[in-house]
Amino acid sequence: MMPQQSVFVSRRLRLAGTLVILGLLVQGLTLLWNHPLAFLSFLGLGGLLLFAGIVIYLFALISAPKG
């Protein structure tokens, strides 16, 4: 069975990963569209999801109990 701290980290990793994937997919889709709205979506939506995912991942790293 997985130790308690690993469950905490794995939940955070799953959430972070999902957000980063969503962000990357949004950014990828905007690259297929040549329009000012594509750039705004890349920055505003894709960038935000990506940033949130990375922050959650980094937060999980520093807040994971040692051992």
């Binding site: 997985m2 690993s6 990793l13 990963g17 990357l24 690259l31 000012p36 894709g46 995912g53 980094l58």
Partner: protein, 203 residues
Amino acid sequence: MPIGLVLALLMGTVVAIAIVIAAPGVTVSRGGKALAFLALFVFPVAVSLLGAVEHMDRSKQTQFCLSCHVMEPYGRSLYVDSKTYLPAVHFQNNRIPRDHACYTCHTNYTIYGTVHDKLRGLKHAYKYYISKPANPIKLYEPFNNRECLHCHLGARSFEEGTTHSALMDDIKKNQMSCTTSGCHDVIHNAAHLDQLKYWSPQP
């Protein structure tokens, strides 16, 4: 960088993240930790930066600028069949790259010019989608001779012209405007494009 390569990197990153999501237990090992760090931090940041560079590059394209409805007459003015229309003469005679026509003349040729342009682009987007574009559209600040001189300075036809050489100091100091001093003052003239003849490029 080719768009296909950016998308391939993106898909590779998604696959790496999917592995971490499917089996977060792998992060217990040192190798797994490294994989998670690459998949959730290094690769996404790298892919995002490459995507941003691609978007920045695209935003310099004429087609990009003209995709906003209010810019349509300015795009039309590039095809006016008249030597007095300054943008049209530059566009039709390849004095500026046709696929970067707007950017070539309207960027600021200064050290932070590109950053300034991008911020101005965001302001344009705000005005277009949230606020209301000015009618008629005006430049935020008077057109600076610096943008003309970026190409024309050093060109023989420009420097040896009697009018230009006589006024060169004032032109360089932007004290005599190229576009509003009565010399080259027919610019886009977007409100009066109806009764004009247009150039049709050969396919």
